[in-house]
């Protein structure tokens, strides 16, 4: 019993400066189906979602909605036509009531004199909420609701505009097990009414429980659309990661041999009380440990905790066998821990200052007297590291904002090398870096490890992990779920653990 497609995307292509985010993508959504959209981080899921929702206009291709070719001029137009997007970060007005939020996009009922009719608003919202089995009081303020309850408000809001298509972007990401069950019951109810649902999620068990079909995207391309009952987690993961082998970097990985029995860095049951828990990891001198996992799995938070940005709520950090307490980044730096953070521009660079100053910032006070900077020593240090890491810049006074991503990243790494750290934490070290500079950064990382540093690399880029990590931890929903070595380090195994595919 195949129902007609309510929405069809044909040959959609969308480019952003420098990247083709979607390339000739096809997608079909039928009335009353739950269609899962899966793919790695950066596969193009959110771009596709934004095209359906009218946020972006496609460069090529057509959108057919209810049998007609449409061109959304704005998200409002898509919404008014019955396409509702429920974002991962819910977009409700926290200080208004549930009823106001539910009816926000509609014409509010008004009296003859143009005044708002509150009784009417509240009763209409109540009807909508009751129709999806919720007994929330429409007069309650949204800020008093849990995330799960806010999601119900979002769904009621989608129904208030009589949505035919609802796109849910990782709706379960912040829900508990019970709440997810309730969400699924609600989705089934919507399905029975003929609403079509695009369900974006990384969690295999959910995809297999709720979806009818799934479409796999990889590197912006349509890979496959399958009936969920005809496939399994292994196959989906293979489709998600199955890259061309030529894309993978030439691995000049030297086999790593432990030189010491004491780990350089060890965490035992570490938890920040929020984003990750019970994290135990070891790092030996000269070793490169990779941490893999989906975006939002708690990887970056783990690194920030090791760097003293957040406090440990439970567990212990040991450096060379001795427990340490890190209260601030300064503490961490004093212990010889360095962090190259995830977002260069926001967390590391002083964009308006020179390349040189960005390199020497940690050593500014050194060798000077009474707070004065010794310029000769400073400039020598900057020249040395510029040469050592091959940073290409017109001069050391050039503002760092004018450098390419790769050279900016090298400057940040140089910054940390000036203090001769023992442990180097790298969060997405080659994000936004061109291919050539990527290779250079890898060889810098390998060289540093060879000189005895312990290095932890967090990366969403699987080929990157494969080409530099000696050992890999996989994080899922705030926990390390696997520790892989040698031949177990491959894309399929990592993705299976990262998505929880093995559980299903």
């Amino acid at each position: 019993m195949e129902s007609a497609p309510v929405l069809q995307l044909n040959g959609i292509t969308k480019s952003f400066p420098g990247v083709k985010s979607l390339d000739n993508v096809h997608f079909e959504l039928r009335k009353g189906e739950v269609h899962a959209l899966v793919g790695e981080n950066g596969a193009g899921k959110s771009t596709l979602m934004k095209i359906i929702g009218g946020v972006y206009k496609p460069d090529e291709g057509e959108i057919v909605y209810r049998g007609q070719i449409v061109q959304w001029q704005s998200p409002q137009q898509a919404r008014n036509s019955g396409i509702s997007v429920i974002h991962q970060e819910l977009k409700l007005a926290a200080n208004l009531s549930i009823a106001e939020n539910v009816l926000m996009g509609t014409d509010l009922p008004r009296s003859r004199f143009g005044f708002i009719r509150w009784d009417e608003i509240n009763s209409r919202a109540k009807e909508l909420l009751e129709s999806i089995g919720s007994d929330l009081d429409p007069k309650r303020k949204v800020s008093t609701l849990s995330v799960a309850q806010q999601q119900i408000v979002e769904i009621a809001r989608a129904l208030s505009i009589r949505a035919d298509v609802i796109i849910m972007d990782e709706p379960s990401a912040t829900l508990t097990g019970k709440e997810i069950e309730r969400l699924f019951a609600l989705i089934r109810m919507l399905k029975a009414r003929g609403v079509a649902i695009v369900y974006i999620s990384h969690r295999m068990e959910e995809i297999f429980e709720i979806s009818d079909r799934c479409t796999v995207l990889r590197d912006g391309q349509w890979i496959a659309t399958k009936a969920t009952k005809d496939t399994d987690a292994q196959e989906l993961v293979r489709l998600m990661v199955g890259r061309d082998v030529s894309h993978i970097f030439n691995t000049v990985k030297t086999s790593y041999a432990r030189t010491s029995e004491t780990p350089l860095l060890e965490t035992v049951g570490l938890s920040d009380g929020k984003r990750f828990a019970d994290a135990s990891l070891t790092l030996y001198p000269g070793e490169i440990v990779g941490i893999s996992g989906l975006v939002g799995s708690g990887r970056s938070e783990f690194l920030l905790n090791l760097f003293g940005v957040t406090r440990a709520a439970a567990g212990e950090i040991r450096l060379a066998g001795k427990p340490v307490t890190l209260r601030s980044p300064r503490d961490a730096i004093r212990h010889g821990i360095a962090l190259v953070p995830e977002s260069r521009k926001e967390q590391a660079l002083f964009l308006q200052l020179g390349v040189g100053e960005n390199i020497s910032v940690l050593k500014l006070g050194e060798a000077g007297r009474a707070g004065f900077i010794r310029r000769s020593a400073k400039e020598k240090l900057e020249r040395d590291y510029r040469e050592k890491l091959g940073i290409k810049t017109a001069s050391l006074n050039t503002r760092i904002v004018n450098l390419s991503g790769g050279n900016q990243q090298k400057a940040i790494i140089a910054r940390w090398l000036t203090i001769a750290p023992r442990v180097l934490l790298l969060d997405e070290p080659t994000r936004g870096v061109d291919v050539g500079a990527k290779e250079e950064i890898y060889s810098i990382i390998r060289e540093m490890a060879a000189s005895g540093l312990g290095i932890i690399v967090v990366s969403s880029d699987l080929p990157e992990i494969l080409s530099i990590a000696d050992r890999v931890y996989v994080m899922r929903q705030g926990r390390f779920v696997a520790e892989l070595r040698d031949s177990a380090i491959n894309q399929e195994t990592i993705m299976l653990h990262a998505t929880g595919g093995q559980v299903s």
Binding site: L339, F350, Q352, K392, A394, N402, G406
Partner: protein, 329 residues
Amino acid sequence: MSANSTSIESAAGKRSSPLRLSGMLDKMGIFVVVIFICVLFAVLDENFLTWSNMMNMTRQTAINAILAAGMTFVILTGGIDLSVGAIVALSGVTGVYFTQYLPAPAAILIGIAVGGVAGYINGFLTAKSRLPAIIVTLGSMTYLRGIAYVVTGGYPLILTNSTFKNLGQGYLGPVPIPIIIMILVYAVFFVVLKYTVFGRNVYMIGGNPEAAHLTGIKVVPRMTGVYTISGICAGIAGIILAGRLLSGQPNVGSGYELDAIAAVVLGGTSLSGGVGTIFGSLFGALFMGVLSNGLTLLSVPYYWQLIIKGIVIVMAIYVDRLRQKNART
């Protein structure tokens, strides 16, 4: 590989060349404008370009310039200090008050130190408790003014000490002492901002507070230091003003904070922090001084001067925003 990187390099180089020109204009901008209006007023009024008028004008500018010097540090960190006007009054009355009991140098130092302490408290509250600077200093602007009234009981305190008076009215050779103090302040601050770790950290904290924190820069003490500097500058300005007025008056200095902020922004310092120079602020202050001096010479009524000054300030903020847009692309 190397070919790849060089092409990126040259692309970046090409992109920055028009920016470099506007960057020059940024730095020179206010300087050029000051020269321009000086020439304009010199042509319009023969009295403008006389030594006595120049000295008079610069002396009147000195107080705003000194406040702007301290304010530059604060704005470079991305903050704001609304309390400097109140500190001018409090330091003045405190200094004059203590001349009754102590030798003048000690009384003067106490007056300045009171400004430093008030600034320290501003900085500590802003940095440690992460309250917005505008709220913290809005509060201190009010309570410090209150303290100034309490110290004097609401009346002016008459200043009789001649050393103290000289700071406001005296000359060193042909040059008024306030101008000499102003030049000293700017010379010291130029060195501090350019050649000390503290100074560079100020730019870093303002340019990217999160990166500053993640590179282990001592953000809280630095911020406290910055507001203390602003307080000390306001203290110095308060002493000079008391010397000039021959009395400590609790009601002086209101609105000075806004003139100082305007001078800093006119001088090219970005209100969002991280970008700016100390000499820019000096010329910003001079610009405002020249403007009101020239308009007065041309007998433009005071009310109209206010209107013109206000429009100029709004234009300055607008230019500031354009510049930031430029810097981002």
